[in-house]
C-alpha cells in the first residue's frame, strides 16, 4: 500500500492559518488555533511563514524518546500517533522531534497530528499548496522535466 504523509513548502505559506482553524474545529470542536496540531511559525518582520506538522518520520525520534511507549507507528500506513491514555504529557517527545511538530497546548497537553484517518482537512483547505498530503514515494516537488515551469499556483 502506498503511504501518504505531509509535505511542506514554506515558500507558499501565506500565514493565513486556515489549516489551524480547520484542525481545531475537527479535533476540538471549537475555534482555537492554539489547540491546532498544525503550528505556523510566523516571523512577521521577515515575512517568513513556516508551517510545522508531523511528517510521520520513517524512524521517529519521538518514539525513541517516549518512556511510556505512548507513541506508535503503524507499519502499514506509516502514520505516527499518540495514545492519550498512556501519555502523561511529559513532553520528552516535543524536545526530541526534529521538526518542531509536536505541540504543547495551553493546558500543557501534548498534541500530535493523527492525519484524521487519511483525509486531513488542513491540507484539503490550504489555499496555496504549502501544506500537502501526498504519496511519500513521490513527494510534491515534481519531475525534473517540469522544473522550469512557473510553480506559483
Amino acid at each position: 500500500m502506498a503511504q501518504k504523509t505531509f509535505f511542506i513548502r514554506s515558500e507558499f505559506c501565506s500565514g493565513c492559518g486556515i489549516c489551524q482553524l480547520a484542525c481545531s474545529l475537527v479535533k476540538e470542536k471549537e475555534v482555537n488555533p492554539a489547540m491546532s496540531r498544525v503550528v505556523i511559525e510566523r516571523q512577521v518582520l521577515d515575512g517568513l511563514m513556516v508551517p510545522h506538522i508531523c511528517v510521520n518520520c520513517k524512524k521517529p525520534a519521538c518514539i525513541d524518546a517516549c518512556k511510556r511507549k505512548a507513541i506508535t507507528k503503524d507499519p502499514e500506513t506509516g502514520w505516527v500517533t499518540i495514545d492519550r491514555d498512556r501519555c502523561n504529557n511529559c513532553a520528552l517527545c516535543v524536545g526530541a522531534c526534529p521538526y518542531n511538530a509536536i505541540v504543547v497546548a495551553p493546558d500543557k497537553q501534548v498534541l500530535l497530528c493523527d492525519v484524521c484517518g487519511g483525509s486531513p482537512k488542513c491540507a484539503e483547505m490550504c489555499p496555496t499548496g504549502a501544506l500537502q498530503f501526498a504519496d511519500r514515494s513521490e513527494g510534491i516537488v515534481g519531475k525534473t522535466d517540469t522544473a522550469a515551469i512557473d510553480i506559483w499556483k
Binding site: G15, C16, I18, A22, V31, N32, L45, G47, P127, T128
Partner: protein, 629 residues
C-alpha cells in the same frame, strides 16, 4: 459563548468588564456597528477629540476569527481629522481574531495615561505596561521591541508610529508591517491618550453554537471565494490590479485632480512590473485564502535595500499620478516610510498633491516651503514632506498638524484647490465623477469622502440589467454614467459594507469589489447561524446595516450639525474631465441635488438630511442612547 466588553480607563489604570447583551448584538452586531453604539452612548456630547474625555473604541467583528476572510477590526472615535465628526476605520490582519481568542470582543478606552503606556492583553488579563522605551520608535521597531518585552512572539500588536505620537491629524493605527486603520486620525487620538500599542494574545478559543456546521460553512465559503474569476487575479496582484483599469478608463486623479489619465504611467506603473521586479512573497490576513498583501524589496537604484509590505492601489495612485510620479521605486520607498511612521496614505498623498498644485500655480514658493522644490514628481521633496509631517518639523509638520485648516494659514487662493469633504482630505486617487452611484455613495458616507463605503464596483462592468436587478432587488442602470437606480445602488452598498465591517468580513471576499459570486448576505446568515445560533434573514441584516448607518448619522448631527452641505462632493467633481476617455464628463449640480433628494427620500430623511422620527422609530433608534450596555 458570551462576548465581553472591556472598559479601560487609562487615567486611573482601571478596567471594568461587561458582558455584551445579546439584544444589543442583534441590533448592532459587532465591529463598526457596536462601536458606533458604544461611541454614541459613552462619548459625552461636544468634547474636544483630543481631550481625555474622548473614547477610542476597538471592536472585533461579530464573527471574526470564525470564518474565512472575517478577521477585521474596527476602530471608532470622535474624528481627529476634519470637523470632529464620525471617526472610524477598519483594518485586517491577525489582531481581531487574537483579541477574540484573548476573551474580548470590544475595548473602550478613555482617559489619558500619565506616561507612555501600552496594553498587554492575554487570555482575559489586561496589563498596563510602561512604553517609555517605545516612545519615538516607529511601528517596525515597536513590533520587535514589544514582542521582546512580553516574551511571546505569537502576540499581535496594534500600535502608532511617530505620527500618532506627534498628534498628526491623519495618523493611523497600524498593525503588522502594513495593516492600517487609516483616515479620521485614529492614531492621533491614540497618541493623545499616550497609548503606544495594544498587544493581544489568546489561547482560550471560541465555543461556537454548531462546530460541525461551522466547519462545513467554513469549507464552503473558502471554496466559493477561491472559485471566482477574480480570485486568481486578486491573490496574485491584490488591489494593484485596479490601477491599470482606473487609469486607462480615465478615472484617476492626476496632479491633484487636474487630469484624469496619466500617460507617463503606461509601461512603467502596473501590477505586473511590481510582481516581476519587486515582490518577494504573498501574505494573508488570518483565515483568508485571498493573500492579497505583498512583501517587496527594492534591489537597485537610489532606494536599493528598502523593504516592506503593501502597497495597495491607493498607495500606487496616491504617490503615483496624484503627485505626478511614474516611478515604482518612489512609491515603494514612500510606502515603507508611511507605514513605519503610521501616516495615512490618502491624506498624506492628497496634501502633497495639493501643495504641488499650489507650487505649480505660484501660490507658494520656496519661502513658504522652507526651500523645498515642489515640482510635480520631485522624489526627494515628496519623501521630505513625509518625514516632516510625521515628525512635526518644518513646512510638512504644519500640514500634519493643521490638515485642511492649512488652507487658512497659507491663505491666498490656496483653498480653491484643496478638495475636502467634512473637513477630510478627498482621497487622493479618487476621480470617479463620471460614475454616479460611486460618487453619491462616497460623498454621503459618514466619515466624508469614503471609497470604502462608496465604491459601487459592480457599476463599472456594464452588467446586464437583469443581473443587477437580481442583486439589488430593484432596477439599476448598466451604464455607470446613468443616474437611474443609482441612489438605491448607493444606499444598498452603504448598508452592505456596514454589515460586512460589523461582522468582520473583508469586503474583498464579498461581492463588493466586483465578483457577483463572492460572499453575500445569505453566506453571512449561514455563519451567524453556525457561530451564534441565530436565525437571521438577509432582509434583517440589511435593516441592521441601515440602523447602524442612521445611528452614525445621528452622531454626526449631534457632534457637528453638518448634514446636507457635507454630502456634496468636492468642487472639482462639477468641472468637466479634461482628457479622454470620459472627456467632458462632470457632475451637474442641479442633477446632483435632485439625486441627493432621491437618496434622502429612500432613506426616509428630510430634505436637510435628517432622519425623520418615523425612520428612527422604524429602525428602533428612537430611544438611543438606550444604555443597554
Amino acid at each position: 459563548m458570551t462576548d465581553r466588553l472591556a472598559i479601560i480607563d487609562l487615567t486611573g489604570e482601571q478596567v471594568e468588564i461587561k458582558d455584551i447583551p445579546e439584544e444589543v448584538q442583534r441590533m448592532y452586531l459587532g465591529g463598526e456597528g457596536l462601536n458606533t453604539y458604544l461611541l454614541y452612548t459613552y462619548l459625552p456630547p461636544g468634547v474636544d477629540p483630543l481631550s481625555p474625555d474622548n473614547v477610542l473604541i476597538f471592536g472585533a467583528g461579530l464573527i471574526s476569527g470564525c470564518d474565512v476572510s472575517s478577521s477585521r477590526f474596527e476602530v471608532t472615535s470622535k474624528s481627529a481629522e476634519g470637523q470632529g465628526g464620525f471617526g472610524t476605520s477598519n483594518s485586517g490582519g491577525f489582531w481581531s481574531a487574537e483579541l477574540k481568542y484573548a476573551g474580548f470582543q470590544h475595548l473602550l478606552i478613555r482617559g489619558k495615561a500619565p506616561r507612555p503606556t501600552y496594553l498587554w492583553i492575554h487570555d482575559g488579563e489586561i496589563e498596563f505596561r510602561d512604553a517609555s522605551f517605545l516612545w519615538g520608535h516607529d511601528t517596525y521597531e515597536s513590533i520587535e521591541l514589544i514582542l521582546d518585552d512580553i516574551g511571546d512572539r505569537n502576540a499581535q500588536v496594534a500600535m502608532i508610529g511617530q505620527a500618532g505620537e506627534n498628534l498628526v491629524k491623519f495618523a493611523n493605527i497600524m498593525h503588522g508591517l502594513k495593516r492600517a486603520a487609516g483616515r479620521t486620525g485614529m492614531g492621533c487620538i491614540m497618541g493623545s491618550k499616550m497609548l503606544k500599542a495594544i498587544a493581544v494574545r489568546g489561547t482560550k478559543g471560541l465555543r461556537v453554537n454548531d462546530p460541525e456546521k461551522l466547519l462545513e460553512t467554513f469549507a464552503s465559503h473558502r471554496r466559493q471565494i477561491t472559485s471566482t474569476k477574480i480570485y486568481p487575479v486578486i491573490s496574485r496582484y491584490g488591489t494593484l490590479t485596479i490601477f491599470l483599469i482606473q487609469n486607462q478608463s480615465g478615472m484617476i486623479s492626476v496632479k491633484n485632480n487636474q487630469y484624469n489619465y496619466f500617460a507617463e504611467a503606461e509601461g512603467r506603473l502596473d501590477d505586473e512590473i511590481f510582481e516581476e521586479q519587486y515582490k518577494t512573497k504573498s501574505l494573508a490576513c488570518f483565515g483568508c485564502p485571498l493573500r492579497c498583501s505583498h512583501r517587496y524589496r527594492i534591489n537597485s537604484g537610489p532606494y536599493a535595500g528598502v523593504w516592506g509590505e503593501g502597497p495597495e492601489f491607493y498607495m500606487m495612485a496616491g504617490f503615483g499620478p496624484a503627485v505626478g510620479n511614474a516611478d515604482w521605486d518612489l512609491i515603494l520607498a514612500a510606502n515603507t516610510l508611511i507605514n513605519r511612521y503610521g501616516l495615512d496614505v490618502g491624506s498624506s498623498s492628497g496634501y502633497t498633491a495639493w501643495l504641488m498644485e499650489l507650487w505649480q500655480r505660484g501660490i507658494i514658493t520656496e519661502k513658504d516651503t522652507g526651500g523645498l522644490n515642489l515640482d510635480w514628481g520631485n522624489k526627494e521633496a515628496i519623501l521630505t514632506l513625509i518625514h516632516q509631517m510625521a515628525k512635526n518639523e518644518g513646512f510638512g509638520g504644519m500640514i500634519g498638524q493643521e490638515a485642511s485648516r492649512a488652507a487658512e494659514i497659507i491663505g491666498k487662493d490656496s483653498g480653491r484647490y484643496l478638495y475636502t469633504q467634512r473637513g477630510m482630505m478627498h482621497e487622493s486617487p479618487e476621480n470617479t465623477r463620471a460614475s454616479r452611484a460611486t460618487t453619491l455613495a462616497a460623498a454621503t458616507a459618514n466619515r466624508g469622502s469614503d471609497h470604502l463605503k462608496g465604491r459601487c464596483a459592480l457599476e463599472f462592468f456594464a452588467m446586464p440589467p437583469e443581473v443587477l436587478a437580481k442583486i439589488y432587488g430593484k432596477p439599476v442602470a448598466s451604464d455607470f454614467r446613468s443616474w437611474d437606480g443609482k441612489a438605491w445602488m448607493a444606499t444598498w452598498t452603504q448598508h452592505f459594507t456596514t454589515v460586512a465591517d460589523s461582522l468582520g468580513y473583508c469586503k474583498f471576499a464579498t461581492i463588493w469589489p466586483g465578483s457577483t459570486h463572492n460572499l453575500n448576505y445569505p453566506q453571512f446568515c449561514e455563519t451567524i447561524k453556525a457561530v451564534k445560533g441565530w436565525d437571521v434573514t438577509p432582509e434583517e441584516l440589511m435593516e441592521t446595516g441601515e440602523r447602524i448607518w442612521n445611528l452614525e448619522r445621528m452622531f454626526i448631527q449631534r457632534e457637528t450639525g453638518v448634514l446636507r452641505e457635507g454630502d456634496i462632493p468636492p468642487s472639482v467633481y462639477f468641472e468637466p474631465q479634461p482628457l479622454e476617455p470620459l472627456k467632458g464628463e462632470k457632475l451637474d449640480r442641479d442633477e446632483y441635488d435632485k439625486r441627493l433628494d432621491e437618496y434622502y427620500g429612500i432613506r426616509g430623511w428630510t430634505r436637510e438630511g435628517t432622519p425623520t422620527p418615523e425612520t428612527l422609530k422604524r429602525l428602533k433608534l428612537d430611544r438611543e442612547p438606550s444604555h443597554l450596555l
